[in-house]
Every structure is written in C-alpha cells, then in structure tokens.
Point group: C2
C-alpha cells in the first residue's frame, strides 16, 4: 500500500466563518478541477471579526478538527479574520496549510512597481494592520494605505454586485477615491467577499492598478504546495464539493449560488460544531 | 419603610443584542426624563436574528438576570428578535415587562383607517411573520404586507442616514415602492435601527402614511405601566443612563452617539455575561 498515492486522493479542506471562503473554493475549482473540496462554514458563530483573539483561535482549532474528520490532505483558512490572527501562529504542522493573507501579500509585493500598495477590508482587518505588517516584512520600503469598506459585505450579501449597480458604484467611489489619490499601483481586496465587486472596483481604480484577490492567491499557493509534496489528485474526473455549515442550510445555499455561480443544493449539510 | 416609594426610584432596565435598543432609550429619556435607565447590549453575541429559538430564549433570560442585579422596576426587551420570539412566552412576571412588538402592533391597529398596514424589518423578522400574526389577532381583517430591508441596518450603522444621502435614498426607494403600491396608510418600522432613516422613509411613503416606531411605542407603554402601578420616579432631577456591554466599549460608544445624539463616554462598562 502506497500512503502517498492514497493521500493524494484526499480532499482539500477549506473553512471560513461563513460564505466568504467560497471565493477560494471557486478558484480551487478553476485551478484544480480534479480536487475534491470539503468546506466548513461556521455560520452559527459568524462574525469572527468582532471576537477576541483567544476566541478566534479556539474557533479556528475547532474548525480544523472538524475538517480533519473528513480525510483531507491540506487545510486552507479561507477567512480573513483567522488569517490575520494566525499570521504568527502555527495551527497545523502535519499537512500543508495556508491562510489567505500571506499568499495575497506575496502576490502584491511581486506585482507593485512603484512600491505603493492599497489594502481594503473590513473595519477589523484594517484596524489590525496585519496586511501592512506582512507587506513591510517582505518588502520593507513599501508605502501601504488601508481603507475599511464596511458596506461592501452587506452589499455583496444582498446581491448589489452588478457592474451597473448604482448603489454599489456610489459607495465604492466614496471608499476608493482616497486610495486612488495616493497613487497605488496594486490593491489587495483584503476580504473574501470583495472579488464579487471586482468589476466595479476595477472601473474606479483604472486598468493600470493590479487587483489582488486573496482567495485566488490562496488557491494558487495550494496548487504549488500540493505539487511540491506530490499530493495533487491525478485522476481525470471532476472533483466534488461538499459543504458543511453550523447554521441554516437554506441560507447557505442561497448565498453560495452568488459566490460560486451555480447551485449547491443537495451538497450542503448541517453539523453541530460545539 | 415604604417599599413602593423605594421601588419607584429604581431604574428601567432595557436590553438588546446591540445598539438598536438605544432608539427605545432615546424615547424613554424624552418621555420620562426623570427615570434612570440601565441598558445592557449583548454585543458579544450579536446578531440574535440568526440564532435558534431556544438560544434566543436562553440569551434573553441571561440578559434579564443581568439587569435584575442592578435594582430595576421594569424590563423592556428592546430587541426585535427577542420581542418576536417571546411574543407568546412570559419571561418576567414579578415586575412590569414589555417587548417592542406588541406596543407597535397596538399603535398601528389604532392608526390605520383603510385597514392596510405595512411592516418592514430584517429578513428574520419578516420571515417569522410575527408582526402579521399579532396584527391579525388584534384586528382580524387587516391587510398586512411585509418587506425585508436587509441593507437598512448596515446603512444606519455606517452613518448613511441623512435626508440627502443618495445611497440610502436609492436603497429605500427600492424597498418601499412595492409596499407603497399596496396602498398602506400605516407602516411599522419593525427594526430598532429604522427610526434613524425616518426622514427618508417619510419622504418616500408620503405624509398620508403614519410611521410607527416600536422604540417610541414601547416607551409610551412603559410610561402607562409605571403610571398604573404607581412606579413613576417623582424626583425632579434628570435621570441617568448607564450602559453595559459584553464586547468592546469603544465600538459601542461610537455607535451610541449616532443613536442618542449625544456622547455616552464614561457611562459604558464592559461585563462578562457567560
């Protein structure tokens, strides 16, 4: 029996406090179509952003333990809050693991030419300064400007995402003008929901500004990790997504469609996490 | 010693899952300026709206027990979710008690002339149908039309409340047009945050539509209860507001200013509820 061969058939485990981590799942499906995904959305305890650091670490460990029960070969913390907090902590050391922060920071530091990077995110993410610290560790003389965009998550969750949506555009202009005026050439969409507003954000920032999506970068990083450790699924069949949530299945299914672009009905299961 | 005389000096206890209940406090301060108020905002466990009925009742009982430790003569559940769920349950029977739902329903049933009442609220409130059921109990042949306005809370919490705010107006028009088209003459603002958007809502609905604010109606009902039980504070000094929260004092202070119209710095204290 070849352990490695078996393990490569295992799924990639992804967790988030809610639906936002599905932007990572979407990118994993695109980049690694043959991989199975096990997703856990801790919807009963959302939002993590307003909890203490100790509570967030406790929840993250519980989420990881849940995923471990399902035969996984890698774990992605697809949650901006957890990724910020665990920046310096090692939560998993026996299988590949990543948050969404460091891959995005790495990509932004590679993309910038003029050394000016913008970061947008929730109030908690921007206040924590975690992106700025990570950027300055990798590329010390970078100018970093952050801006909280607290209305973006409710706008996305209520479907205000079309390029032509007037409300989303006015709000985005308000948030982004000050960052644009700083002359950044790279903008990190530091919240898993924001890629759904990418069209509007791109219009406002202009095509000379590179937009970095943490979900996409985490998926690319996962690809590299699995390749390096010879853990990529070599089968030719399309992988399966399975979703677990700690609160309403219906609410998750409704939101998931918007994030993934297709129906997940029948693949979502309710679990008790604590 | 006269027990009644002492008890009338006690405070009115008010609780909510967050800051929304402050619309009730504002009305209490206006109608009953000599009363002390003890407020508890369970900000660590917000939002209640997405929890199960059992959990909401458990939290409500814990909130009530907390208030009871502070010398109170009446309790107001200034939380739309708790008020909907407890509609048929008696949580307090030794001192006067009210939620925000029934006083608002009573006021709406008295105000309507054409028998058509609109209700706006969060997704959870509208889905529960609690306002509609209560209205039909009091006034059986009433036509009730409900509409969830999920973006109103984030708009209020981010300060998008001025009469001239373009974003709030476009969103409000989208939500309110269908209700207006039904010809209602009375509209219940079935979420404690919505009175902050009253100017915009009134402009859209037109002056022939009566707007009912649950916080205001709960304060009026409290006045009646205390008067009836001879528990009104007869002192001439202005009452004091004291606020307790289960999460960040700073975040609460920031939001409270918007709801109350004045600074509460120094009167907010952090407590551990569980």
């Amino acid at each position: 029996m070849n352990d490695m061969e078996k393990m490569s058939d295992f799924a990639i485990g992804v967790f988030d406090s809610g639906v936002g981590g599905l932007t990572t799942v979407k990118e994993l499906n695109r980049i690694l179509p043959n991989e199975d995904i096990i997703y856990f959305g801790d919807t009963a305890r959302i939002p993590y952003g307003s909890r203490s650091k100790e509570t967030i670490l406790k929840y993250a460990n519980e989420d990881i333990n849940f995923l471990r029960q399902h035969g996984i070969k890698m774990i992605i913390a697809a949650c901006g809050t957890v990724s910020s907090v665990i920046n310096t902590k090692k939560l998993v050391d026996d299988i590949p693991f990543t948050g969404v922060l460091l891959p995005a920071v790495q990509a932004a530091c590679s993309a910038t030419v003029n050394g000016k990077i913008g970061v947008i995110g929730t109030q908690a993410t921007i206040k924590s300064g975690s992106y700025g610290r990570a950027i300055k560790t990798i590329r010390p003389n970078t100018f970093v400007v952050g801006k909280a965009c607290p209305l973006f998550v409710p706008l996305v969750e209520n479907g205000y995402t079309d390029r032509g949506n007037k409300v989303a555009r006015i709000v985005a202009e308000e948030y982004l003008e000050p960052i644009k005026n700083e002359g950044v050439d790279t903008l990190i969409l530091g919240c898993t929901h924001y890629p759904l507003l990418k069209d509007i954000i791109a219009d406002i920032m202009g095509e000379e500004v590179t937009l970095i999506s943490p979900g996409e970068e985490a998926a690319k990083f996962a690809n590299l990790c699995l390749l390096e450790q010879n853990l990529l699924n070599t089968s030719n069949k399309i992988g399966k997504n399975t979703f677990y949530v700690s609160d309403s299945v219906e609410m998750f299914e409704e939101n998931a469609k918007q994030f993934l672009g297709h129906d997940v009905h029948g693949n979502v299961f309710k679990v008790d996490i604590n």
